[in-house]
């Protein structure tokens, strides 16, 4: 189970305000995750990745994001600290990884990209090895060829690309990205159904084209809570007290900064809102945050979902790891 953070702002953020400085920054989450109860090995130390878009569009550089990944632990990477102090971006994806099995490899570090698009995942597709061949069979060549690593996450991105009318388009509408995300989840659920898999999959996906962000907090279950997902919005996010005590302030009705994260970056209760399970969060190019329920057979409005499953997935069960998590190393 990994941790990720997304920033989208009207003005570029210095990466350190997300990655290194806040009291519960993504780097701190890497070694002191509070919403993952993996007591045996509580670290997200199996590499990390940061992807960001340019503050100013440059013809020569193109519209695609830049991605920096490493297999070293995020808290121990001096290059990450140095880059975070000197890079500013209006749209950032950050990810720390905890492989539960599988290879520790640069190819398996999130985020992944294709053209303008960037994608990351927190969770795991249940019994991935049983549907992997069918998923791959269903992909068009370009999507199949895109995959470099061997994680369920990257294959899920390939499925997402296959659901777009044109994965290489110059622009994507909010509606197109929303629909492709729903189609991706539906497709994965379809493969699992066909294979008779009953164990729920945790599908906290996020994708962006540099303008719109679409993220999901999803589980293919009507009884359990999905892996955690939070967001915060406001006008300025700045250090209010020493020790990384950042605070979101609101000087406007509108939002200038929107962050989505597996765990809040600070302990300011009023600054963070939990996204409901089986909800799609959309940050529109004009900084509106939409929270859209994902309606399918796993919607269960009004019922109280259990939290055990997500915890269990974080809690490394050796037998389960052997039976179901082989190769599903991405999260």
């Amino acid at each position: 189970m990994c941790r990720f953070v997304i920033y989208k702002g009207t003005s570029p953020v210095q990466l350190s305000h997300l990655l290194t400085r806040p009291i519960h920054s993504i780097i701190n989450q890497a070694f002191d995750s509070r919403l993952r109860l993996d007591r045996r090995r509580p670290m997200n130390g199996d590499g990390f990745g940061v992807g960001w878009y340019d503050s100013v569009h440059d013809e020569e550089l193109g519209p695609q994001p830049c991605i920096f990944t490493s297999v070293t632990p995020a808290w121990n990477n001096i290059n990450l600290t140095r880059l975070a102090e000197k890079i500013k971006s209006p749209l950032v994806f950050g990810h720390v990884r905890a492989t539960t099995a599988g290879s520790l490899s640069l190819d398996n570090c999130h985020p992944f990209k294709h053209g303008k698009l960037m994608f990351m995942h927190n969770g795991g597709i249940a019994e991935w090895e049983r549907i992997k061949r069918n998923v791959q069979k269903g992909l068009p060549d370009f999507a199949f060829a895109m995959v470099q690593g061997n994680t369920d996450s990257e294959w899920a991105f390939a499925v997402f690309l296959s659901k777009l009318p044109d994965a290489n388009a110059q622009t994507f509408t909010v509606q197109v990205l929303r629909q492709a995300m729903l189609d991706t989840i539906a497709a994965v659920n379809g493969y699992a159904d066909a294979a008779g898999i009953t164990e729920p999959s945790l599908m906290n996906f996020c994708v962006t084209d540099g303008d719109t962000v679409v993220a999901t907090r999803y589980i293919s279950s009507d009884k359990d809570e999905a892996a955690s997902l939070w967001f915060s919005s406001g006008t300025t996010f700045s250090e209010d007290a020493d020790g990384g005590h950042y605070r979101m302030s609101k000087a406007d009705k509108r939002e200038n900064i929107i962050m989505i994260a597996s765990e809040p970056l600070t302990f300011e209760r009023a600054d963070w809102m939990e996204i409901k399970t089986n909800t799609m969060v959309v940050i529109t190019p004009r900084f509106n945050v939409l929270q859209i329920p994902i309606i399918d057979k796993f919607s269960a409005p009004g019922t109280v979902r259990g939290t055990e499953f997500a915890h269990e997935k974080g809690f490394l069960n050796p037998r389960k790891a052997l039976s179901s998590l082989v190769n599903s190393s991405g999260h």
Binding site: I23, D32, S33, R34, L35, R39, P42, S228, S233, G234, D240, A241, G243, H245, R247, S249, K250, A251, D252, K253, R254, E263, P264, T266, F267, E268, R269, A270, W272, M273, E274, K276, R286, N288, V289, L290, Q291, I292, P293, P301
Partner: protein
């Protein structure tokens, strides 16, 4: 006939000085601005207060009459995003980024309840509020897209009330905040501690408590309430619910209550509401214009302010969009707030502009209201009359109050009687309007360049007196000096002719120069900020003149003026009142018999206690010139060979005082009145108020003094020149019982004698330039008591009796000329900065100053009728 007069008075606010035809299309004028430190996100108003919710957690409460900050409502720990005033309950609802709704009493300005939404902080920021009086229900629009409500109607329904009493309404104030449950994340410990979350984890910055139970030093509320799970519509929108507005009646049934919500998902939704029932979605309009930030409703039409700079007009009856009004052409300039009065729609935008649209959607006005973003707006009415104001709040930290034209579709025949009954409150607006005009004329008497402005000020003032019901005329003084303005308000004829008393009000329409350095706003444009009016002359002396004139006019209009009030306003006061005495003597017939003189040309000694001035010092201004009748010389060539005039001057000036700063003019102190014990006692008391020392007061008020103002030299003023001519300015302040002429003479004599002792070949010229006598009021007569009573009744405290160190030559002059006593009523506060940058007067002092004069005139009028012999 009488109605005509008052109608004319009322109309003073509108069309006397501006084209009547164009009046309707003008942008509203800025009546006042209030300053908060941070972004102003929300506004509400009750009869007494303007409430302002800002980025800084507190709700500022401004007094509507004085426009001064009354109170800060403390409790929220996040930005205050929405306010709603419940007139029926006298409650203010506030919602915040801290995920609480707080309910305040608008009579006691204390907390009543704290209401937590379902899921508490899980509901996120609470963006919008609407109060339904008929359902006694508050609706809350949340960041987590839910629409929640709480019913204050049925007391048994006070679910989740955490209080010692059975019901929130009967709670006795002994509420016990519930112990909150630890949060799995926010109250967690680092993993290596292997410790379950508890409420003592203290992860946040230690100083901050963001629970609903944080009261930040304010008294605790009666009870803590929670919205139950069943009072929630989840996903009411897919975006944040930014705005909502309530529609009561007007639909299919009179009792129907509908709620209109607007969200970040570009939808406007209509909900049918009933007591304790889940709002039922009647219709959803997809606007496709970005987020909906604001809503207003008129009849069956909804106006929605959108993110793309447009206003969508939606028809409720037919459930169709009617049209799109483009307020801001440029993309990204969002319409953040809408307000409506009559058929006029005001759209407030992110670029600081406010635009007015007519019923036919023509843009009839557009003006820059704020530097930055206009975030909020409301319409209020001044008291009961229909004088409307638009109040806007921006991220520049300002709250601005814009005066709107009165509702024009009012039946004009009804207006006459209405004007009569509402003259009181209306007139304060008119007074400000008149003062605005008066201040805008830069009548600087010391500058020849402003000679025409001074004349225009005199003409304007004459017209103003006439409009207010006085007989008015300009009286010339000496050649090249500004004229006097004479205005006579005639009281009702008394039963016996000789019993009608006549009061003379003396003032001056000229001002001292106001170079723009140091001013926060144009000195010659009246600017209202935080309860003060700023501008050159507002306190010295244009404000007090108009307050007195409006007081007389008010009595006249209500047939309560039983004295004659004669305004005698000069234009040379700041330049020594040249020609004033002569002109008064010449026009004495026109002025007529006078029983008392009233002057209002000074300030209190402190900020909060009203004062009456009963003493002034006199002054002798003297210029001294020493010259050697030669051109300026080179000191290297001639130095030592000439007796230098400047050295003579230094010697001469040195003879004026000794080492202890005692004035050495022979007999100077001889007739200074001895300080009595009562006087000493008074200075002690006043010193405690001003925070100064009693000796400083007595030195300034009742001891004479001598000042050397300047020494001026001829020539190029460089270090190798011996100047040939030296001029110096010296003045002496004199006090009772020093004789003005004797002091002036002995000053000159002393200078001449001292100069002779120098045995200098140079020449001395001494001349007395102008003088003013000291003045002491009569504290025991009927007039003083009437004024004292008027101040006491109006302010509710006994006024302090003070003196002034300065001099007003005309006061003792007028006393002598008309053989009666003068009264001095200071109107402004000690911080008014007369003669300095940012001269100001508080609205409260101006308004109450007018009322004091009104009371005074009414009292002496009564007295005049009852006992003509006084």
């Amino acid at each position: 006939m009488f109605t005509d007069e008052t109608a004319a008075t009322a109309s003073l606010s509108r069309n006397l000085w501006e084209s009547e035809a164009a009046a309707g299309t003008f942008a509203p004028s800025l009546a006042h601005s209030l300053h908060d430190q941070r972004s102003v996100l929300s506004l509400a108003a009750s009869d007494l207060y303007i409430f302002c919710g800002s980025q800084s957690q507190d709700i500022q409460v401004w007094d509507r009459r004085s426009l001064r900050l009354k109170e800060s409502l403390r409790g929220h720990t996040g930005a205050v995003l929405a306010l709603a005033y419940a007139e029926d309950r006298k409650w203010l609802f506030s919602s915040s980024g801290d995920s609480t709704v707080r309910i305040w009493s608008t009579t006691t300005l204390t907390p009543v309840y704290v209401l937590s939404p379902y899921l508490e902080t899980g509901a996120g920021d609470l963006f919008s509020l609407a109060w339904a009086p008929s359902l006694q229900t508050i609706y809350v629009g949340c960041q987590n897209t839910s629409l929640q409500w709480y019913d204050f109607n049925s007391e048994h329904h006070a679910c989740g009330a955490q209080s010692a009493g059975d019901t929130p309404a009967s709670a006795s104030g002994t509420s016990t905040p519930r112990s909150r449950a630890p949060h799995k994340f926010f109250d967690s410990y680092p993993q290596y501690e292997r410790r379950p979350a508890d409420i003592y984890a203290n992860n946040g910055a230690s100083s901050r408590d963001i629970s609903p139970h944080s009261d930040r030093g304010a008294p605790p509320p009666r009870a803590y309430l929670s919205i139950p799970a069943e009072n929630v519509v989840d996903s009411a929108h897919y975006g944040y619910i930014y705005c909502m507005v309530l529609l009561e009646g007007g639909g299919d049934s009179e009792r129907e209550v509908r709620l209109v919500t607007g969200g970040g998902d570009e939808f406007v939704k209509i909900w049918e509401c009933s007591v304790s029932g889940t709002p039922n979605e009647l219709h959803a309009f997809e606007c496709n214009s970005g987020a909906i930030y604001s809503l207003v409703v008129r009849d069956e039409t909804i106006y929605a302010g959108c993110q793309d700079g447009s206003v969508k007009v939606l028809d409720l009856e037919t459930k169709t969009p009617v049209r799109t009004v483009i307020a801001q052409e440029a993309r990204g300039i969002d319409v953040l707030s809408l307000s409506m009065i009559g058929v006029d729609l005001y759209a407030c935008s992110a670029n600081g502009l406010v635009q007015r649209f007519s019923a036919s959607f023509d843009c009839t006005a557009s003006w820059q209201a704020h530097n930055g973003i206009v975030l909020s707006s409301i319409i209020t009415y001044e008291n009961q009359n229909n004088h409307p104001y638009l109040i806007t709040g921006g991220n520049d930290g300002n709250i601005k109050i814009w005066e709107l034209a009165s509702i024009s579709d009012e039946d004009s025949s009804a207006r006459g009687s209405q004007a009569l009954s509402s003259l009181d409150s209306h007139a304060s607006g008119t007074l400000l309007f008149a003062l605005d005009k008066f201040v805008s004329i830069p009548s600087v008497s010391s500058s020849p360049g402003h000679r025409e402005d001074c004349r225009q000020a005199a003409i304007w003032l004459k017209k103003c007196f006439t409009q207010l019901g006085a007989k008015s005329a300009l009286l010339p003084t000496v050649e090249g000096m500004n004229p006097l303005v004479l205005g006579t308000f005639s009281g009702a004829t008394a039963r016996t002719k000789q019993s009608k008393l006549r009061v003379l009000f003396y003032g001056h329409y000229d001002v001292i120069p106001a170079p723009p350095e140091g001013w926060d706003s144009d000195p010659f444009r009246l600017a209202g900020r935080n309860g003060y009016l700023y501008g050159r002359g507002v306190t010295d002396n244009k404000g007090p003149i108009l307050a007195a004139a409006f007081a007389a006019a008010q009595l006249l209009a209500t047939r309560a003026l039983d004295v004659d009030v004669v305004f005698l306003i000069e234009g040379e006061e700041e330049c020594g009142s040249t020609g004033f005495g002569k002109a008064v003597r010449e026009h004495k017939d026109l002025i007529g018999h006078i029983d008392a003189i009233l002057v209002s040309n000074s300030t209190w000694i402190a900020e909060d206690t009203p004062c009456i001035t009963y003493g002034l010092r006199g002054v002798v201004h003297c210029s001294i010139e020493i010259s050697n009748d030669r051109p300026d010389l080179h000191s290297g060539i001639e130095g030592g060979a000439v007796v230098e005039p400047l050295l003579d001057m230094v010697q001469l000036l040195a003879t004026l005082t000794d080492g202890q700063h005692q004035v050495q003019i022979p007999g100077f102190y001889d007739s200074v009145r001895k300080q009595t014990d009562t006087e000493k006692e008074l200075y002690k008391r006043l010193a405690a108020i001003t925070g100064g020392s009693p000796s400083s007061l007595s030195s300034r008020w009742r001891e004479p003094s001598l000042t050397v103002h300047s020494i001026d030299i001829s020539g190029p003023k460089n270090a190798t020149v011996i100047p040939g001519t030296i001029k110096a300015q010296v003045s002496v302040r004199i006090v009772p019982d020093q004789a003005l002429d004797a002091i002036a003479k002995s000053l000159c004599l002393h200078l001449e004698t001292s100069f002779k002792h120098l045995k200098s070949p140079n020449k001395l010229k001494v001349s007395v330039e102008h003088t003013a006598d000291w003045w002491l009021g009569e504290l025991d007569d009927f007039w003083f008591k009437a004024l004292q009573g008027a101040v006491e009744e109006e302010w509710g405290v006994e006024p302090l009796h003070i003196r002034e160190g300065g001099s007003i030559p005309s006061v003792p002059f007028l006393e002598k000329e008309f053989s009666c006593h003068a009264l001095q009523l200071p109107m402004g506060q000690s911080s008014d900065q007369a003669h300095l940058p940012n001269e100001r007067i508080s609205l409260d002092n101006l308004g109450k100053g007018k009322s004091v004069i009104e009371r005074f005139l009414a009292t002496v009028g009564q007295k005049g009728v009852l006992s003509p012999s006084s």
